[in-house]
Symmetry: C2
Subunit: 213 residues, 2 copies
DNA sequence: TAGATTGTTAATCGATTAACAATC
DNA sequence: TAGATTGTTAATCGATTAACAATC
């Protein structure tokens, strides 16, 4: 099981697993690379390469065993002991994320939310309890949290990130539109909604220009 | 102004512009490539290459003119006539996105929301009016909408995408965890929150394994 | 066997990086 | 001029694609 799997490959494996789970609930036992690849929007060769990378082997006559491949990917992606995660910032976006991930996956759950607004403290939103931002560091250390989601305003994001890193967090999903400065051993996934929408608008427009040309 | 600018380059240009606007409000007139690059989290050489690509030229003695470069990027990214956008799906995530983009940029605004739940129709949420999903196609055609955001449940996403494409939409920001099938001239930006969080968890864990090794 | 698959290697493509000349 | 920048080209790196051998 190689440690140097690329970010893109990991993302695709996550996608394959979800599609395999759907097939599994539909009582499909085997799937060919091109069938799964079509659902995932990738080429069959790329999918085979990804699956090969985690050491799983298909059958030339039957294709891939749906249940076994899903388990194999889960074994690759998931910590068998589970990975609790926290979210900091219970605004509109934060609450939407809490709703999105509330009890979604047993091995990867949002277990606590934090906000500096005392009115939100001790409320339970989408089954996740909200704590005071003052208790963030203590909570992370005591519960050995390694994964966090940042949905605070941009002005507070770096400060929150510093606390997270200091407390031992090693992976951050960041919605604040700022490049967070963290040590190289901390993984950051930036989700910049403004940039994404601007990209969509740009390419939607380019398309128009092409047609007119 | 080349049409074949890569997706990544467009995203970075969007980021540069935001940082330039911040500098502008702080009354900074000139900025060197390495200063701006540090804020953006890229190398100075890459930033210079990106800026070169849109035909803007800096000064070896002063660096880049903050206001002029921001205008130059805006001219590259934005439609001078403005690009209205719509959102389909007024659930938790949809409302958060509406809050996020409500009146953010004059040239790129969410002008309408759509939902199949009649209880939401005609309500105004974060300054955006909610319409019936039945009127989606008519609205898009009449208002020449080219940009849309999909925040409906996964089961409805492809159906919505089909309506959007049929009505003339050319760019879609898709939050539903499904690979949408659209013509090649329609740009799709997939934002899969589950995959993103799973990636973060994976690399947070890898880090741990490395340290232990 | 024949056929369609899978695993694997070689070729291609593109983006990034590094190095250098041009400029104020 | 000297120095630090910018614009530009060449080298590198990695991912993707294409081609082919191995397998059931």
């Amino acid at each position: 099981m190689p440690l140097n799997t690329s970010e893109k490959t990991v993302g695709r494996l996550s996608l394959y697993r979800r599609l395999l789970q759907e097939l599994s609930t539909a009582s499909v036992s085997y799937v060919y690379s091109h069938q799964l690849a079509t659902k995932a929007g990738v080429t069959a060769a790329k999918l085979r390469r990804d699956i090969m990378a985690i050491g799983y082997t298909g059958s030339p006559s039957k294709g891939y065993d749906v249940v076994k491949l899903a388990e194999s990917i889960a074994h690759f992606l998931e910590d068998p002991e589970g990975q609790p995660a926290v979210i900091i910032g219970v605004g509109n976006l934060g609450r939407a994320i809490m709703s999105y991930f509330g009890g979604r996956r047993p091995k990867l759950q949002l277990v606590a939310a934090f906000d500096s607004d005392e009115k939100k403290v001790n409320r339970v939103i989408h089954n996740i309890r909200c704590f005071s931002a003052d208790s963030l560091e203590e909570y992370i250390v005591q519960n050995s949290i390694k994964v966090a989601v940042i949905t605070v305003p941009v002005t507070q994001a770096q400060n929150v990130a510093d606390i997270l890193v200091r407390s031992g967090v090693k992976g951050i999903m960041n919605f604040a539109p700022i490049h967070l400065r963290v040590p190289s051993d901390v993984f950051i996934e930036d989700i910049d909604l403004a940039i994404s929408l601007e990209k969509v608008a740009y390419f939607a427009r380019q398309n128009k220009q092409k047609k007119e040309a």
